[in-house]
């Protein structure tokens, strides 16, 4: 079964540092997403990406966040200057169809700890 791969699985960073979270979506999927989940809380939408541009973003996705598809396989989330409240699990997802008809495939996540 095809998988969405995320690296690293766990990242510890100091407050104010930049981090890049990496994802390899499923190869024939066209739509890519980032979600996050603070410990014990709901899964929250950050951003969706299609045709090399952001389709939709949430209020959480402010100027500190950016996404990029640098090549044909990787999809990255960059946090420019991390804050303590950025500590969370970050999930990448991809889908074949718009709106995830047939469901989204999520990765196993990157646990980001900001100290």
């Amino acid at each position: 079964e095809p998988e969405v791969t995320q690296t690293p699985s766990h990242q510890v960073t100091q407050m104010g540092q930049e981090v890049i979270l990496r994802c390899v979506p499923i190869s024939n999927h066209l739509y890519f997403y980032w979600y996050r989940q603070i410990l014990g809380q709901k899964v929250e939408f950050l951003v969706s990406f299609y045709n090399n541009e952001i389709s939709e973003k949430s209020e959480i996705f402010d100027d500190q966040f950016s996404v990029e598809r640098p090549d044909g396989s990787n999809f990255t989330l960059k946090i420019r200057s991390t804050k303590l409240e950025d500590s969370a699990m970050y999930f990448c997802a991809s889908s074949e169809a718009l709106g995830g008809g047939g469901g989204y495939t999520f990765g196993s996540g990157t646990r980001l700890t900001v100290v």
């Binding site: 997403y33 899964v43 969706s48 299609y50 699990m89 718009l98 469901g103 999520f106 196993s108």
Partner: protein
């Protein structure tokens, strides 16, 4: 997007059938109903999606009455490994990707 309401938690025993009901009174004509499963420290996993009546796959069944104001996820003969949080989501498949997750139903399966 339609708001959903589901029980916070449910308990079951191995081998039993589990039915988790979700209410979505304000569901719109173009909305689909999708269920996800999430284990601790893992990403949500798509289980099933439907629009009306009944949908069945190798994992679960989804029952949707004619008024579509609720839906029931049915898990046949659960095992310990089905212990997880189950989320009911309702939304237009044409939306750009903003899945709204609620708190879900924490299912605990006991031996």
């Amino acid at each position: 997007l339609a708001k959903t309401t589901q029980p916070i938690s449910m308990d079951s025993y191995e081998g039993q059938e589990v039915n988790i009901t979700c209410s979505h009174n304000n569901i719109a004509t173009n909305d689909y109903i999708t269920w996800y499963q999430q284990f601790p420290s893992q990403g949500p996993r798509f289980i099933i999606q439907g629009y009306k009546t009944k949908v069945t796959n190798e994992v679960a069944s989804l029952f949707i009455p004619a008024d579509r104001k609720s839906s029931t996820l049915s898990l046949p003969r659960v095992s310990l490994s089905d212990t997880a949080v189950y989320y009911c989501l309702v939304g237009d498949r044409r939306s750009q990707g903003n899945l709204i997750f609620g708190k879900g139903t924490k299912l605990s399966v006991k031996p």
